[in-house]
Amino acid sequence: MTTRIEMKDVHKRYGANEVIRGVNLKVEDNEVVVLIGPSGAGKSTVLRMMNGLETTTAGEILIDGVDIARPHVDIDKVRENIGMVFQHFNLFPNMSVQKNVTLAPVELGLMSQADADAAALRMLDTVGLADKAEAMPKTLSGGQKQRVAIARALAMQPDIMLFDEPTSALDPEMVGDVLEVMRKLAAQGMTMVIVTHEMGFAKEVADRVVFFEGGEINETGTPEQVFDHPQSPRLQSFLQKVLQA
């Protein structure tokens, strides 16, 4: 197995406030890692550090061996390989669905517009939205928007995908469609890091679950270990609260 992402003693500080306090985390090829934890625990911040959307105060973040926490690293090149999906979709509202999907590969000279259009239609087909290619984002439902956002990220043909609470902003009946797409990706062997509150989904698709608490990793293990035999009292009380709800 090859290590795709490796965080070594990563810290992040805002002035005196340390929000990430020495995180060590490895993600192997084809692995699906789910980050859970209470709000403000630092899981989203850690995820966003993995493609340089958040700066790092100290430590190393190696993506395929390249430390992206160093200044002057070609972050754009690294990002071409890492797709990211956001809680609020962040579709470009001034472009059609198809244009959203083809923008990056065409703009970066990876594909001609014609090739990208064809690829976009295939990509939209895999997320079940082939008929929405010409639609503008504002006409879509939340679940449809998120699936377009996934298609947009996939259009760059990344082999790592980061998901930042992809279903948190969705109506409950929309959640299933999005999770279905993610399930498919996991089955295809995509390396994925997912921040989510969907514990059932985490249990089902995760190879490993990481529990964050107070800017640190509190406990980590297989879904069975974490959900069925939690060790730390923090994790136990967290699971109690979440699963009761």
């Binding site: 754009d76 071409e80 609020h88 923008l103 703009e107």
Partner: protein, 487 residues
């Protein structure tokens, strides 16, 4: 940025360059030197515009005659007395001939030609005024004109007689202040007010004997003895040939009141109905409008380019870039437009030693001031685009610049469009402030016409109407563009 976009940018810059550089450039012939001489807008009978809107007057005619006998090209620029003196100081022009008294202070600053007219200071009051002497002025106000010998005289005695002074930029305002009763009297150079009264001004000259007679001369820069010699040689020739006397007689006649009244009747039209005034001044107003539109158009283009660039600099993730933008906005949004205009036009040339044509100075002023406002709302408009848009674009691997151009700017521009329209309208209105540079735009044109016919209400109404019409058209055009873009 692709080639096509650069092409369009280049084309725009070229147009601007042609407009800016092409404007003041008269063909210069190697053999004939061109001298620019500044003068006042109205200081009849020395300089004023006749009913055909030609610049005439004793100063103008003498200058033209000298130019003819000495063989140089003459460019007469009417700003205001004060403006002309400042321009001469700044080296923007070569001389000032504006009924300018030769005084000790002025001699320290400029060289003066031989005297060409002997004048004196008089006090004038309203026709029904009871004021007879200085003693009656105690506690009252006296109107004077900036930089005149009469004004200096009034200031020198105001403490002794206990009156205050109020200063105006042109004679017309001085007279109106007395007629309106705001000031009890005015001090003015004798021939000027004599002529004005003869042509219908409702004031009366008191019999007071005032300051010693003073001599008028043409001021030139100390560093320009060649022009001084030329002027003196020319003056001498005019006196020898009798041309000088002919010019003086043309305006002052034999000095009798009757003859002057006749002259005035011949020079000015007496029909002051709105329609007649409009017809008479249509050409002048339209040429003023043309200049206003030229200033507005070039100003908008330059200010938009600079403003957008500065606004963009303000969002570049670099402390240096943001600092530059913030300073630019702070500085030029903070300076009053008129101060900036005068600073650039009469201040900067003193330091850099090169003339800046008034049109160019006006455009630079607009570019900096309107550009600062533009930069502020461009920066704000970009900031108003959801932060997640940039994150999404960057996470796809787009570099910052491309993410900005393809994703953020198209959304930001929609937010900015109303601000742009607003700024265009403000720019059009702000060009009126540039009249201070003597640019013959619509407002300055209005001033000049009024200085001649004293029809302030009607002429300003016309000027206001023209501004309103243009602004209405501009608003319609803008709304149409807005609908097209946001559809």
């Amino acid at each position: 940025m692709n080639v096509k976009r650069w092409g369009i940018m280049g084309l725009l810059l070229a147009i601007v360059a042609i407009l800016v550089v092409g404007k003041p450039g008269e063909p210069v012939q190697a053999a004939e030197k061109t001298y620019t001489v500044g003068t006042d807008v109205t200081f009849a009978p020395f300089e004023f515009t006749d009913k055909n809107n030609r610049q005439v007057g004793i100063d103008i005619d003498i200058l033209k005659a000298i130019a003819k006998v000495e063989g140089f090209k003459l460019n007469i620029k009417a700003t205001s007395f004060n403006g002309a003196v400042q321009e001469l100081q700044a080296g923007q022009i070569d001389g000032v001939m504006a009924g300018m008294s030769i005084t000790k202070e002025r001699k320290e600053m400029f060289n003066f030609s031989d005297p060409y007219f002997k004048s004196g200071v008089v006090m004038a009051v309203a026709k029904n005024s009871k004021i007879k002497g200085f003693a009656d002025l105690r506690g009252k106000r006296v109107a004077i004109k900036t930089g005149t010998a009469a004004g200096a005289y009034a200031n020198s005695i105001k403490k002794k007689y206990g009156f205050t002074t109020v200063t105006f930029d042109d004679s017309n305002n001085v007279y109106q202040d007395v007629i309106a009763g705001n000031s009890a009297a005015c001090f003015e150079d004798k021939p000027v007010i004599q002529y004005a009264i003869a042509t219908g001004l409702d004031l009366r000259i008191t019999k007071m004997k005032l300051a010693d007679p003073n001599n008028y001369g043409i001021a030139v820069q100390k560093s320009d003895p060649e022009f001084l010699a030329t002027l003196n040689r020319g003056l001498k020739k005019l006196r020898q040939t009798g041309e000088y006397d002919r010019i003086i007689t043309r305006y002052l006649g034999n000095g009798s009141q009757k003859e002057q009244t006749e002259k005035a009747k011949a020079a000015g039209s007496t029909d002051h109905s709105f329609g007649t005034l409009l017809k008479q001044n249509w050409g002048t107003l339209m040429s003023g409008l043309q200049e206003t539109l030229a200033l507005t158009l070039v100003g908008i283009i330059c200010a938009t380019i600079v403003g957008v660039l500065m606004g963009l600099l303000g969002v570049v993730p670099s402390r240096w870039a943001q600092g530059t933008a913030t300073t630019f906005i702070y500085l030029f949004r903070g300076l009053p437009l008129m101060v900036l205009a005068l600073f650039i036009y009469t201040g900067v040339p003193m330091v850099i030693g090169t003339k800046i044509p008034a049109f160019v100075a006006g455009i630079i002023t607009l570019t900096l001031n309107e550009g600062a406002y533009t930069a502020a709302f461009v920066k704000g408009g970009i900031g108003a685009v959801d932060k997640g848009q940039m994150e999404a674009a960057r996470s796809l691997g787009l570099p910052w610049g491309r993410a900005m151009r393809r994703v953020i700017l198209p959304q930001g521009i929609k937010i900015m469009i109303p601000s742009f329209i607003n700024q265009f309208i403000i720019t059009l209105k702000d060009t009126s402030i540039l009249s201070i540079l003597g640019l013959l735009e619509l407002t300055q044109t209005g001033k000049i016409i009024i200085a001649r016919n004293m029809q302030g209400f009607k002429i300003w109404a016309m000027v206001a109407l023209i501004y309103l019409i243009i602004i209405t058209l501009l608003t319609w055009l803008s709304n149409w563009v807005q609908r097209k873009v946001q559809a």
